[in-house]
């Protein structure tokens, strides 16, 4: 088994890591790059806790090989805040109690950010369908949807 050297762009910065060929991007992010925002909830693509953005599209990092990140643009929850300034979604989730244990939160934030970049003014239904692959076992979805709407309004400058 030969380890693979991977050069990628992570939250806008060049990053390099070495991983085993069967290692997932999720494990590489967490164990090789020290980014523990993305979580493993299921490892089968069902829960969305491992959601990151890859070349502009959302992916379950548990179903992507670390080796596939070569030359790609990866964005994780760690790249959302600018310095101390939280992203409006992060702020809205805190202000409006859209998280409890927080396991699902990084995945939901990354997914919601990608939605708002495509559609700055989504309906509740659009948000629910977009986030159908992000499971939350404690908060309940109403507060999450509400927080996304509040952040969306904030980002539109309304």
């Amino acid at each position: 088994m030969k380890n693979i050297h991977v050069s990628t762009t992570l939250n806008g910065d060049d990053a390099e890591f070495v991983c085993a060929p069967e290692e997932t991007l999720l494990d590489a992010l967490r164990n090789r790059l020290g980014l523990s925002g993305a979580k493993e909830g299921c490892g089968t693509g069902d829960c969305g806790a491992c959601t990151v953005e890859m070349d502009g599209r959302l992916v379950c990092s548990c179903l992507v090989l670390g080796a596939e990140a070569q030359g790609a643009q990866i964005k994780t929850v760690e790249g959302m805040a600018i310095g101390e300034a939280l992203h409006p979604l992060q702020q809205a989730f805190i202000d409006h109690a859209a998280l409890q244990c927080g396991i699902c939160t990084p995945g939901i934030l990354v997914a919601a950010k990608n939605l708002l970049e495509r559609n700055p003014d989504p309906t509740d239904t659009e948000i629910r369908y977009w986030l159908a692959g992000n499971l939350c076992r404690c908060t309940g979805y109403d507060k999450i949807i509400k927080a996304v709407q509040i952040a969306a309004a904030d980002m539109r400058g309304a």
């Binding site: 969305g48 599209r57 379950c60 179903l63 090989l65 939605l115």
Partner: protein
Amino acid sequence: MQYMKPSTATEASDILARNEGAARILGGGTDLLVQMRSGMIEPEMIVDIKHLDGITDITAEDGGLRIGAAVSGQRLGEHEGARAMWPGVVEACELIGSTQIQGRCTMAGNLCNGGPAADSVPAMIAAAAVARIEGPKGARDCPVEEFVTGPGKTVLGKGEFVSSIFLPARPKAASDAYLRFIPRTEMDIAVASAGVNIVLADDGTIKSARVALGAVGPKVVLVADAADAIIGSKLEDPAITALVRACEAAASPIDDKRGTVEFRTTVVGVLAKRAARIAMDRAQENATGEKT
């Protein structure tokens, strides 16, 4: 395990041929990684085909569209030309998984996985789509309805892989639709499904049709009797009744906790009926340029 990233089709089929039985093709990985992680398969080599020339392209060809094998569901959905020409195929592909799965999943992977409930497959078969297969002897074409030979089994031979799916040209007065039944509204596997593709004659009757059913047998089936039932009609009640009967007769589903034989058989008829009506409305709209 080894991870290979060939850059040409020849190189890819060469690697696959030399490692027959040990190598697995990696498309979007949304089936493959799940199978690897559960220990269901333990490949010695992964051949990532996403870096081959043209494999992520959607190109116009002979009035139809060639969809590269590594085009993701989300990317297909973003293609206005595909949405306009083959709305049933696009809506079927978009039903696969969540937004995250859509970012990766491919129609080719959905097909090659060989599952009877694969959502894009009935729609592709109804569309008379053709898989382009690359291999040691060059390229060959295979109609999608002949591609899967049994659960998880395909016509792919040594060193072969799918490089693209071709959606043929179609006349203006035509359209297609796909419907599935799942117990939830998202993120589930079809209990029964139906894809319907119709072409209208000048008088508004159905000139030709194709009906394919999913999840009601060991593989997706093209049901000629169901198409014959509606050809020559405008989907009046007797034609619809005959369509439903033909679909029920063609269904040989399994009984499991997700649906009994009786339930799946009844539902597949209902889905075919509704998909036919949607395809009809879309075809009429295309014919007249007006919403019906």
